[in-house]
């Protein structure tokens, strides 16, 4: 005797896709509000712009032999 088919269950909520990493699971440090604010702080970023520019120029000059 074959068993009667189980009644069709309502559609299950979708399982988490394989390998999906929730960002909250990372051990990495998160910037404080102050650090985030400083990332768009105009005077500081003007100074960082100069610093990044110098750093890149140095690296570019080194690459241009």
């Amino acid at each position: 005797m074959t068993a009667a088919p189980a009644p069709q269950a309502a559609e299950e909520p979708r399982a988490t896709p394989a390998g999906l990493l929730e960002p909250s699971a990372f051990e990495a440090p998160v910037p404080t509000e102050r650090t985030v604010r400083l990332r768009t702080n105009l005077p500081l970023q003007a100074w960082r712009f100069a610093a990044v520019g110098i750093r890149m120029t140095r690296m570019i000059l080194r690459s241009h032999g």
Partner: protein, 485 residues
Amino acid sequence: MARVVVLGAGISGHTAALHLRRLLDPRHEVVVVSPNSQWNWIPSNIWVGVGWMKAQQVTFPLRPVYDKHGIDFRQAKAVALHPEGDATTVKGFVDVVYTDPARSGEVQGIEYDFLVNATGPKLNFGATPGLGPDGHSLSVCTYGHAEQAAAALAEVIRKLKAGQRQTLVIGVGHGTCTCEGAAFEYTFNVEHELRAAGVRDRAEVIYLTNEYELGDFGVGGLTFKQSGFVTSSKLWTESLFKERGVKSIVRAHVQKVEEGRLSYETLDGVEDTLDFDFAMLLPPFRGQDLQAFDREGADITAEVFAPNGFLKVDADYTPKPVEEWKASDWPSTYVSPRYPNVFGVGIAFAPPHPISTPRKAPNGTVISPAPPRTGMPSGLMGRAVAQSIADMIKTGSSVPTHHASMAEMGAACVASAGAGFTTGTAASMTMYPVVPDYDRFPGYGRSLTETTGEIGLAGHWMKHLLHHMFIYKAKGRPGWSMIPE
């Protein structure tokens, strides 16, 4: 009189052509063959893809620039190389098919004394069924693709504003893709746009990648100093994902893309599907479909090009395990080992091996990034090859004089993470050298002082400055050659 033919007018080919014209006296000819009438600053396609820039802001017509500089522009597509000539000529020549509307479909053989193959990547959407704008996903690789992506993103934002939930998947569409930096950049620009539109809470943003871990970027990750610590690009990148609430799937190969759903497998052999409302997935790259023939007309494509379609140059292509990889495996003159007057630069040259550790799933699927050849290295190669050819023409020597190994040059990568003159941010990274050299830099393979990373508005300004500087340079305006590659 010598004729140099440059195939491709992208970052490497255009740079090579402008320098050749600068270095050679006018009796020598510089010919550029390229199928597109426009030059495109590809890095800014990211901004076109979020609607922050228009295609016209990242392109300009090539012909006026070439006319001004005395470069012969043929709007055409190269299809075959005859490096030994044929029964009628001893000179090498290249077969081209015109795409110029005035000569569309016309076939011509163009003879050369020196040939530079700078044809970049073929966007190999066909490697994954359903991938790409002709299938079910979007791309930002060309300005046309980026405009489509911007329109689709605007529609997603409209639905989010109407209260619907939306899933956006951004990343790479095959296990062997490269250019993860561009996918990363697009992810955070989209995330920024969603936030700016006030709809971030209803959107799920997922970065899907073939990288073994976040921050690999196809260069095996970076190590740099920050706040008195030696840290990794993995930690740095994970921090950004955590801060901005972006989910991720790493070590993944996309098997197929259907309407609203993609299937993928991971390195540990698990297969699954992911439903989406918006998917921007970069394609894998391969070389353009160029063939090569010897003097008798025999097909020598397999000797001149690697199986992935890229031109073989002065690299060490001996297969070897990762532990035996050396900086010296990488080419430095970009000359074909078979033909001393044929060169391959930019994405068009065949790399000897990846930079990130190659990995395979249990069923043999390769899931690890191919090595990136980004803008600055591509420009530097174009310039070095132009200088070598100019010297070879002047002295009659057959030995290239200039070198530009990726193991001896750095790269600057400014990955925008949101546009806006006072609200934008970008991750500015520098690395030196691109290909790690463990003999020169024991421990990390790269210089800890020249390899850096920081996030801020300054990076956004830098990216903007680079956009204008490189378009100015590419237009060949006064002083262009003073602007570094």
